[in-house]
């Protein structure tokens, strides 16, 4: 069935509907990674978005339960060039179409995603509507405006755990609490392989309640950046900042900046992909990072905060990629501290662990080459 994506600026893109036959409105975002469709779609940070994949061939290797980054698919719609009709990989448990059906995803295929990418690059990320109705541009734009008037969504309340939830890790190491705004399984898995005890906290927990459970450290997870719940969470972060060691990831990083009284600003086009270079200002040694965000911490707003050190910057646009504060005991990364490979742990988690144990008391070591098991309920 034919379907169309209409952008806020009136530009439309024809395609074929291959998922659930419904209308969907959301902000259109791009991801430039070649692999990882299932992971991107189940990343809660993408909740409500219409995700466009720039790599044209999708579904080639099917889907598997272990590639879920959270309990379900969060994107509001998926836009791609070509959906593979078969899948071929020994790990696959089902086809991409099955996944789309199972998750009820509205998906638009056979779209000139290259042109869409260029459009977003030139005019910035914007709202869009996927519809299979033959509709004229004006009407679509009207719908988009009406949708915008409704104000921000509160995805986080839906994403986050409802109560403090222990993750079965079987570990004797430090207890790490995670403010769950959209925690990824692959991050939890890294904490697990570091032998941390992990507890997921609901987004609306109070600072008092957090401190009451006496975690050795707190991770403020990634999640949707433009959410109605955020003002409340900033207060929570403010209440714990400086009191326990904190690792902020992506949205978590932005929340720390906001809690410090800083500001965040929206980029014209977000950083979403696996090839973003970052490095310290005074060094030539950097890292290639995975990212998924549209906001960055405003430089001017944070520069005056003396306790905060900007430890990494984006090599190309100079934006803040990582902050650290010795006195406030936090590390925050705009990028995703992903695992470098099977069972291995990102250096950021190791650094976070050192904040918990400056003396190295727990003697935590990374366990290499161990297959990851994630304890979330399977879908």
């Amino acid at each position: 069935m034919k379907a169309t994506l209409v952008l806020e600026n009136g530009r439309s893109f024809e395609g074929v509907s291959i998922g659930a036959p419904a209308e969907r409105i959301g902000e259109v975002i791009l991801n430039t990674a070649v692999v990882g469709y299932q992971e991107m779609m189940t990343d809660p940070a993408n909740a409500g978005k219409l995700l466009a994949l720039t790599y044209p061939l999708i579904g080639n290797y099917g889907v598997a339960n272990k590639f879920y980054e959270s309990r379900k698919c969060w994107v509001n719609g998926l836009i791609m060039k070509e959906c593979s009709r078969i899948y071929s990989n020994w790990q696959a448990e089902g086809s991409f179409q099955d996944f789309l059906n199972h998750e009820g995803v509205v998906a638009l295929s056979e779209v000139d995603t290259r042109t869409l990418a260029v459009e977003l690059r030139n005019h910035g990320e914007m709202m869009g509507i996927i519809t299979s109705e033959p509709l004229d541009g004006q009407k679509a734009i009207k719908k988009l405006r009406e949708h915008k008037k409704k104000g921000k969504n509160n995805f986080i309340s839906n994403i986050s755990v409802k109560a403090i939830t222990e993750v079965e890790t079987g570990s004797r190491g430090p207890r790490v609490a995670v403010l769950d705004l959209g925690m990824l399984k692959s991050f939890t898995a890294q904490l697990k392989s570091l032998k941390c005890g992990v507890a997921l906290l609901p987004y609306n927990i109070t600072p008092k309640e957090i401190l009451a459970i006496k975690p050795d450290g707190l991770v403020i997870s990634s999640g949707p950046e433009d959410d109605a719940a955020i003002p409340e969470i900033i207060k929570t972060v403010n209440g714990v900042l400086g009191k326990i060691p904190i690792l902020g990831i992506s949205l978590g990083h932005e929340l720390i900046a906001l809690a410090l009284g800083g500001k965040v600003k929206k980029m014209k086009l977000g950083h979403r992909g696996v090839n973003y270079p970052v490095k310290p200002a005074d060094s030539f040694k950097g890292e290639i990072t995975t990212q998924n965000h549209s906001y960055i911490v405003d430089e001017d707003s944070i520069r005056r905060k003396k306790a905060v050190e900007i430890t990494l910057r984006n090599i190309n646009d100079g934006s803040i990629e990582e902050m650290e504060s010795k006195s406030l005991k936090f590390i925050s990364t705009q990028y995703y501290p992903v695992s470098p490979g099977f069972g291995e742990v990102n250096n950021v988690f190791l650094r976070f662990l050192k904040l918990l144990n400056p003396s190295g008391r727990a003697g935590i070591k990374t366990k290499k080459n161990k297959q990851l098991e994630v304890s979330y309920a399977k879908t």
Partner: protein
């Protein structure tokens, strides 16, 4: 880290002549390296023996040596130039090996030269199999199980321990030579015996077979502060078992999950760190078990490679340029990504398209050889194609290889037609299955036949182990093909009734107009018109390294059927340059050199240059060679689409070899202005009758000849002009299917075979001038004036293809009167043909008569060679002439006299084609060429031989066996060798002739008569030079066996009398002057008047 200030002069080693496994990609990497080092302010010294390269252009490096790539020659260069550092990673295996020997022999240390990019430890860890295995196991990466055997018993023990099938690799043989696969104990024994014999050190590696596993490659780069980036992944469509250089490759990988991908990246990073590359790139090859994901490492190349060239062109990321900058101490965050113009090289390219590499083979040149692909590389070239999906990229890729196919079949050239498939015989099915099971250059087409027969993807997978995802995509193409047949035209006059939506779908699947026309029983023209009527035309998208995320400053383009065009055609005056497509025998780097010069000339003239080519190995497909690059197949459809889009003032077709010429007529008819010599003049030169008329008018002589369309006619013509005659089809390059026939039976034979070589085209028959001297002339003309760039006298007598013959410039046996006649004739023809640009004429001189053999009003293979010799960039000047300049204005009005000698020698791929006889003839067989330069002919010739890998001995045993008519001429050669201290061995006939002239000879028995015979001598390294002239068409079995062994054991082999004479001259020079003198190209050019 800022670049290093403690080094100033850097020596670069090129890769030498084009051979199978080492082609233009090292000209691309070397040229980028030259530019990158210059940019950073270093003084560059370059050595390469291959004159057809852009890198050896005198303005690329500060000092350029065209000298043999031997330890001796390079040592002399080091002594003279005293470089601070050597960059060994850009010249392929040749460059790396040479640098390695210079390190091992302490020469670098002695002269204080540091190796940058890769040091001796890094090279050893990657190249030495034992060290490599140890290093990989240390970082927890599996390698296939293996062991080294020196006896058959040992090998069997190792083999049985590992289990079948087993891969056997003889140690120290070139590029997988002699490798085999054993499936049982009997085969193992057989191959062990053969392999141990083949290995010069008597060693053989017995290795676990990972046959049928996925073959995955990663390109990685690392700088001196340990930043590591991944350029791209590549997945071989042909699974393990086919050399990656012969495999169809797709980029990025298509069937890996994110987790697997991350794991490969992780391993790649560990490997490049372990190998210890601290400023450069590496290509890493893995095998992965498709059933459980188990990964083993196959190989690491600690240098720029064929795959890195492909990765560069596939992503837009200039690996060679960046690797060079890293080698001098810069870090990735400091190097600019020139494609985007605004970002740094420290990032990982991402793509929003699918890329194919499809190889070009030349089995037709070596009919005796088996077409099965294995672990020894056989491809001579490759094409790259880009599409928005797998199907489009694949079909574009097939037509890019120029095997006269227009996509995945259904183009009127299928070996098994639809009718055959409807009622297939048991043998047809058997053939199809066999062709799918055994890897070969036609396999894709046979998969198509199988799919049409109704075989399932699973069955095809079971036979081929090609991933199901790939097979399913092929199936989708076949399904659409079947659908298109529904729109078949019912009558000749009717029009095609294909709905626009279906037509668009077919274009999105990469179907060419030719295929659609074939399926709908209409013509390409009709399809094209229909497309235009419905506004179905390609859009051009970008290769920009970043999937559109960043606006690119210097991208390049590919066609696809999408909604928006991004090519942004300018209103500038612009010219299209049509490139040469994939390398093949007869058409290679020389033409790419010319195309690049066309581009440089356009730049100098302020005209926008637009390059069209599909060869990823070349300099012409580099992002900064032309103003705009279209990475597209060179077919009428694809080129005309670009013409419609860009509206150039004209196109240059004379530089890309036969590829653009073949389509120039049609392009011209469709309204494209052909710059330079008119298509009509090209036709005069190509059309026998018109050419004859012209010669008659100019009172020039050609050998008696005729044109035949039937055997009867041919017989009559041959009878009239008298045997021997040269026969060949018209309109072919590289002497394809050209033969000398000595009698009627041979002629009949030929006529039967030749119809396949060039259908619809007649056969040309010429009188063969035995023992004539051939001369090639490269000239340039502006329509009025003509100047000759060089007279190239062939060293071998007439009858050997000019592409295979050694040549010397200036001529060393021709008198002034002959040269003057040649000059006069050339001028006259240039004037008559109103040549505007380049012209090549082949003459034969016999009994003081100058015969015109052939005129080609286009760039010839020898243009770069002559340009390097005389210091004049002929192709560049020719381009300017095409744009309206005169030779007067360009200041080139008189022939150059050089006071030194240059010799061109060819190199041959016989070692790759077991069964093919190593003799020269009218069909071209060489893959590349070298240049020897010196003050005397003898030394220049000796250098050319050394450069071509022919190690002329200074002492030892020479075996001579020549045909009767050569015996007299051989006396002088043998006498000289004997005087120089060589021991002469000969077969009885030759020995008698030599003895009667007082030459001491040891007689060796014929092969079947007794031992030790010559084969034993070869195997025992007791013969150091073999002179063997073949006795005619029906070569004696003994002879070809001797030649095959000479090739296998790398004993210098000479198959012509003139070659022997020149070689003896060279040997004498080498003995007299033990220290090789080297001189830079710039220095030679200074002295030219």
């Amino acid at each position: 880290m800022p670049k290093r200030k403690d080094i100033h002069k850097i020596l670069m080693i090129g890769s030498g002549p084009i051979v199978i496994g080492q082609a233009c990609e090292f000209d691309y990497s070397g040229s980028q390296a030259c530019k990158a080092l210059k940019e950073e302010g270093y003084r560059t010294i370059l050595v390469n023996s291959n004159p057809a390269t852009i890198m050896t252009d005198p303005n690329m490096a500060d000092v350029t040596y065209i000298e043999p790539l031997t330890v001796e020659a390079v040592t002399e260069i080091i002594k003279k130039e005293r470089p601070d550092a050597i960059l060994p990673t850009l010249g392929g295996q040749t460059g790396l090996n040479l640098a390695f020997f210079l390190m091992k022999e302490g020469i670098l240390k002695k002269y204080g030269v540091e190796s940058i990019g890769a040091n001796v430890d890094a090279i050893s860890r990657a190249e030495d199999r034992e060290l490599f295995k140890k290093a990989m196991l240390e970082i927890g990466i599996d390698v296939p199980k293996s062991g080294i055997a020196t006896t058959i018993e040992e090998g069997i023990k190792i083999g049985l321990g590992i289990g079948f099938p087993l891969i056997l690799r003889p140690a120290y043989t070139l590029g997988g030579t002699g490798g085999s696969i054993a499936y049982n104990k009997e085969e193992l024994e057989l191959f062990l015996a053969k392999g141990i014999e083949l290995s010069p050190v008597g060693q053989i590696l017995v290795e676990q077979s990972v046959l049928g596993w996925k073959e995955i490659e990663f390109e990685v780069m690392r700088d001196c502060v340990d930043n590591v980036i991944m350029i791209t992944s590549m997945e071989n469509v042909d699974p393990m078992g086919v050399h990656t250089g012969d495999s169809i490759v797709v980029a990025p990988s298509q069937t890996l999950t994110k987790e697997e991908y991350a794991q490969f990246v992780n391993l790649s990073k560990k490997i490049i760190r372990k190998i210890g590359i601290t400023g450069g790139g590496a290509n890493i090859q893995f095998a992965q078990n498709p059933a459980n994901g188990h990964i083993v490492i196959i190989e690491v190349n600690p240098r720029l490679s064929r795959s890195s060239a492909l990765a560069s062109k596939a992503t837009g990321f200039p690996i060679a340029r960046v690797a060079t900058k890293l080698a001098v101490g810069l870090t990735l965050p400091e190097v600019l990504n020139q494609i985007t113009g605004g970002t740094k090289a420290f990032f990982e390219p991402t793509v929003d398209y699918c890329v194919f590499k499809i190889c070009r083979f030349t089995f037709e040149k070596f009919p005796q050889t088996n077409r099965t692909l294995n672990t020894s590389m056989k491809a001579v070239g490759e094409a790259m194609s880009i599409g928005r999906n797998f199907k489009e990229a694949l079909q574009k890729g097939i037509r890019s290889t120029e095997i006269r196919r227009f996509g995945l079949g259904c183009d009127g050239r299928d070996k098994i037609t639809d009718e055959n498939i409807e009622s297939p015989g048991a043998d047809t099915i058997q053939t199809i299955k066999e062709k799918i099971r055994l890897p070969n250059d036609d396999r894709l087409f046979y998969i198509r036949y199988a799919l049409k027969l109704g075989m399932t993807a699973e069955e095809i997978y079971e036979l081929s182990r090609i991933d199901m995802w790939f097979i399913d995509n092929l199936k989708q193409i076949v399904e659409l093909e079947e659908g298109l047949k529904n729109y078949r035209k019912t009558s000749q006059k009717g029009s095609i009734k294909i709905p626009p939506a279906v037509l668009l779908e077919a274009k999105k699947y990469g179907f060419s107009d030719v295929q659609i026309a074939f399926l709908t029983k209409s013509s390409e023209k009709e399809v094209r018109e229909l497309r235009k009527r419905h506004d179905i035309k390609p859009t051009y998208k970008l290769v920009d390294t970043c999937a559109g995320e960043i606006k690119a400053k210097q991208p390049y383009y590919y066609s696809t059927y999408e909604t928006e065009d991004e090519s942004r055609p300018t209103k500038n005056k612009k010219v299209l340059i049509l490139g040469g497509g994939p390398n093949r025998i007869g058409q290679g780097i020389e033409f790419d050199y010319c195309c690049c010069h066309a581009s440089y000339a356009l730049k100098e003239e302020g005209i926008e240059s637009i390059m069209v080519n599909c060869n990823p190995e070349t300099v012409s497909t580099d992002y900064d060679t032309s103003d705009k690059l279209y990475f597209e197949p060179l077919t009428v459809e694809d080129v005309m689409n670009i013409v419609d889009n860009e509206k150039p003032i004209g196109a240059i077709v004379q530089f890309g070899g036969q590829t653009p010429l073949n389509i120039s007529g049609e392009l011209h008819k469709m309204g494209l202005n052909i710059l330079g010599t008119s298509p009509d003049s090209i036709d005069i030169a190509e059309d026998r009758k018109r050419f004859q008329q012209m010669l008659k008018k100019l009172k020039l002589v050609q050998p008696d000849n005729g044109t035949a369309t039937s055997f009867e006619e041919a017989k009559k013509i041959a009878h009239t002009i008298g045997y021997p005659v040269v026969v060949r089809p018209s309109y072919v390059l590289g002497g394809r299917a050209m033969e000398i026939v000595y009698d009627e039976k041979a002629l009949c034979d030929y006529m039967e075979r030749a119809t396949e070589a060039s259908p619809e085209k007649p056969i040309l028959i010429d009188k063969f001038l035995e023992d004539a001297i051939e001369v090639d002339v490269d000239a340039i003309a502006d329509g009025k004036r003509c100047v000759i760039g060089g007279f190239l006298e062939h060293i071998e007598e007439a009858g050997i293809h000019s592409g295979d013959s050694a040549m010397v410039l200036p001529p060393h046996t021709l008198g002034k009167d002959i040269i003057d006649t040649i000059k006069k004739n050339t001028y006259a023809m240039a004037k008559e043909l109103k040549v505007k640009g380049l012209m090549n004429v082949q003459y034969a001189v016999k009994n003081n008569i100058v015969y015109v053999l052939e005129v080609n009003p286009r760039a010839s293979r020898t243009v770069p060679f002559v340009s390097k010799a005389i210091g004049i960039p002929l192709a560049k000047l020719a381009t300017k002439i095409m744009l309206g300049k005169t030779l007067d204005e360009l200041g080139f009005t008189k022939e150059k006299n050089i006071n030194f000698v240059v010799v061109k020698e060819s190199v041959f791929p016989f070692i790759r084609f077991p069964g093919a006889d190593a003799i020269l003839g009218p069909e071209m067989k060489s893959t590349g060429e070298v240049m020897g330069m010196d003050s005397t002919f003898g030394m220049a010739y000796a250098k050319s031989q050394l450069a071509a890998g022919q190690k002329l001995p200074k002492k030892g045993n020479v075996f001579i066996s020549v045909k009767n008519q050569d015996k007299r001429n051989m006396v002088f050669v043998a006498k000289k060798l004997s005087d120089l201290g060589f021991k002469i061995l000969a077969t009885i006939g030759t020995a008698e002739a030599l003895r009667s002239n007082d030459i001491e000879v040891r007689v060796l028995p014929k092969l079947h008569e007794g031992r030790p015979n010559i084969i034993d001598f070869i195997k025992d390294n007791k013969v150091h030079l073999i002179i063997n002239t073949p006795a005619g068409k029906a070569t004696k079995e003994d002879e070809s066996k001797i030649r095959a062994h000479a090739i296998l054991y790398n004993v210098p082999l000479i198959t012509t009398v003139s070659g022997a004479q020149a070689s003896v001259n060279g040997i004498e020079n080498l003995i007299k002057k033990p220290e090789m003198s080297v001189r830079s190209l710039q220095d030679y050019h200074k002295k030219i008047k």
